[in-house]
């Protein structure tokens, strides 16, 4: 079973995506902010991280940069999930080290395809 870490501070969005991923057979861990995301990634070594970018404590951009700077976690792909649909936001996420960028509302079949792609 593939384990993914879902980082999302909004309760409804977290619950919704958690359920959908579980129904597709993923084991899903959750984190509510950037700091928890780093801690959980180091501890559980998920196959990939789904990262909301506007997060409390430590935002998704900084959390991704730190994951990419750490030899223990830099191999784990991070997919940015954001409600900011501007092209500049995509560049910002990719510059931080994200492997892919998906906008909300999430196109779930597309997200699954991207998840399969970045794991290769």
């Amino acid at each position: 079973m593939t384990t993914v870490l879902l980082v999302e501070d909004n309760e409804m969005n977290r619950d919704m995506l958690l359920r959908r991923l579980q129904r597709k057979g993923f084991a899903v861990l959750t984190a509510l902010d950037g700091e928890q995301a780093i801690q959980m990634t180091q501890q559980h070594q998920p196959a990939l991280v789904l990262m909301d970018m506007s997060l409390p404590v430590l935002d998704g951009w900084e959390a991704t940069r730190r994951l990419k700077a750490d030899p223990a976690t830099k191999h784990i792909p991070v997919i940015a999930l954001t409600a900011h649909a501007l092209p500049a936001e995509r560049d910002r996420a990719l510059e931080a080290g994200c492997a892919a960028f998906e906008t909300k509302p999430i196109d779930f079949p597309k997200l699954l395809a991207v998840m399969a792609l970045v794991q290769k």
């Binding site: 919704m16 409600a83 649909a85 500049a88 906008t103 509302p105």
Partner: protein, 131 residues
């Protein structure tokens, strides 16, 4: 201030440089294009210009217009972001229901999803048009 000024006459470019402004396509504060006797100001890749400045240019005036346009754009981006978040939950839960429900419940959930997709498309248009 850094501005991109594609197709803008050399005289206008020289004026901008005389103010100490940088002319660059990389992360400009605004893109300026010429339209008749006026200068169109865009702070993102939008269909409609954010504002228009008339020639000849005055530094303080142009700076103020660019800053105002940037401010309006940032406010719009935040509003669209705030709308997309709950829309994500509505659409996602509707899809979960549609995956398992049958009959009327399936039809209702499908309609919620379709309406939500329509709303998303309208938000995209608002962003592109800078409304």
């Amino acid at each position: 201030m850094t501005v991109a000024a594609p197709g803008v006459p050399d005289a206008v470019r020289a004026t901008l440089e005389s103010w100490g402004w940088r002319l660059s396509e990389e992360h400009p504060d605004a893109t300026l294009t010429i339209s008749g006797q006026s200068l169109e100001i865009r702070t993102c890749a939008a269909i409609h210009a954010d504002d228009i400045a008339f020639l000849p240019l005055r530094e303080e005036e142009l700076r103020r217009r660019i800053e105002l346009a940037q401010h309006r754009r940032a406010r719009l981006a935040k509003r669209l972001h705030d709308l997309r978040s709950p829309l994500n939950a509505i659409q996602g839960y509707a899809e979960i229901i549609a995956e398992t429900a049958e009959g009327d419940a399936f039809r209702y959930a499908s309609n919620i999803r379709t309406a939500s997709e329509l709303l998303t498309a309208r938000l995209e248009n608002m962003r592109d048009e800078g409304v």
